[in-house]
């Protein structure tokens, strides 16, 4: 009987220590998270993130700009490739207006 009670006491002490250990571990977990949060909120890191985002955006926008240029380029090419015959017709029309015939 005395042995059983002694085991009970021992077990209680072991559990109390285990809970104490869990509390310490919990504290470490929270402290580690706070450290990580500070790291995440570091202005230098934010600045770096902003710079990275800007670079990504710039690259994307530059590609878009190339597409815009290419679209205009095609229009310019089409304008320049209007057949000479068509231009001559317009020139003849202009001449008729000039000489009034």
């Amino acid at each position: 009987m005395a042995e059983a009670i002694s085991r009970l006491v021992e077990e209680e002490a072991r559990i109390a220590a285990m809970i104490e250990e869990a509390k310490k571990k919990a504290k470490r977990i929270v402290e580690e998270a706070e450290r990580k949060a500070r790291e995440i909120l570091d202005p230098k890191r934010i600045e770096e993130e902003v710079r990275r985002l800007m670079e990504e955006a710039e690259e994307k926008i530059k590609k878009e700009a190339e597409e815009v240029r290419a679209r205009y380029e095609k229009v310019a090419e089409r304008v320049e490739s209007i057949p000479e015959e068509e231009l001559r017709k317009i020139a003849d029309h202009v001449v008729r207006e000039v000489v009034g015939s």
């Binding site: 009970l8 700009a65 304008v79 020139a91």
Partner: protein, 215 residues
């Protein structure tokens, strides 16, 4: 009795382990919340800092590309218009030199003189023309004066200016004191017609080309 204590020990162990597990789980949840909150804050900072910059950059880069492209299209249009002007000028030169079977330049010149004299509206005028037209007008001055007088219904004395002017053809007519001048050269008329044609070309030919491309 021993077995009852054994049950108690088991129960203490179970509750203790449960409690320890709960403490760790709560700490993990709190840690996750702390990190998530930090990340959310960073996202807001980054968004607030980068977004306006990106909008400005986008406007600058795309605006510049559009401007550059638009300029290229305008240059292409200008090139086409210049080609039309060149073709028209070339044909006008041939007409003036009498090399175009479709147009009698003498008739054109007579009409240009008549229009200009009528516009000046005086009984005595000076006619300015290029060298070859001046020669023609000099040779036919009487006939031209007669034709103009008849058409206008009053006597007009036409004098030919001493010095020729530089133009493809046509005339400039002034009253003697130079207070009234009417420009009726082919060059001037060509410019006027081209001005008119610029908008027509924009609405028809170029629009057609641009629409075909964007379709």
């Amino acid at each position: 009795m021993t077995s009852e204590i054994e049950v108690m020990i088991q129960e203490i162990r179970r509750r203790g382990e449960e409690e320890a597990g709960r403490i760790i789980e709560e700490a993990k949840a709190k840690a996750e919340k702390i990190i998530e909150e930090a990340k959310r804050k960073v996202d807001v900072y980054v968004e607030n800092m980068a977004k306006p910059e990106i909008i400005t950059m986008r406007r600058r880069i795309l605006g510049s590309a559009s401007l550059e492209g638009h300029r290229k299209v305008l240059m292409a249009k200008e090139k086409v218009i210049n080609a039309v002007i060149e073709m028209a000028s070339e044909r006008l030169r041939r007409i003036v030199e009498g090399e175009d079977p479709e147009v009698d330049y003498r008739e054109v010149l007579h009409r240009l003189v008549l229009e200009a004299v009528k516009a000046v509206g005086e009984p005595e005028v000076y006619v300015y023309a290029n060298e070859s037209d001046s020669k023609y007008i000099r040779r036919h001055l009487k006939a031209i004066s007669k034709m103009v007088s008849e058409k206008l219904g009053y006597k007009v004395k036409i004098r030919l200016a001493k010095h020729p002017i530089d133009c493809i053809g046509g005339v400039v007519v002034s009253n003697p004191d130079g207070t009234k001048t009417y420009y009726n050269t082919l060059d001037g008329k060509l410019n006027d017609v081209i001005k008119k044609f610029r908008s027509i070309l924009g609405k028809t030919l170029f629009k057609k080309v641009v629409e075909v491309g964007s379709g």
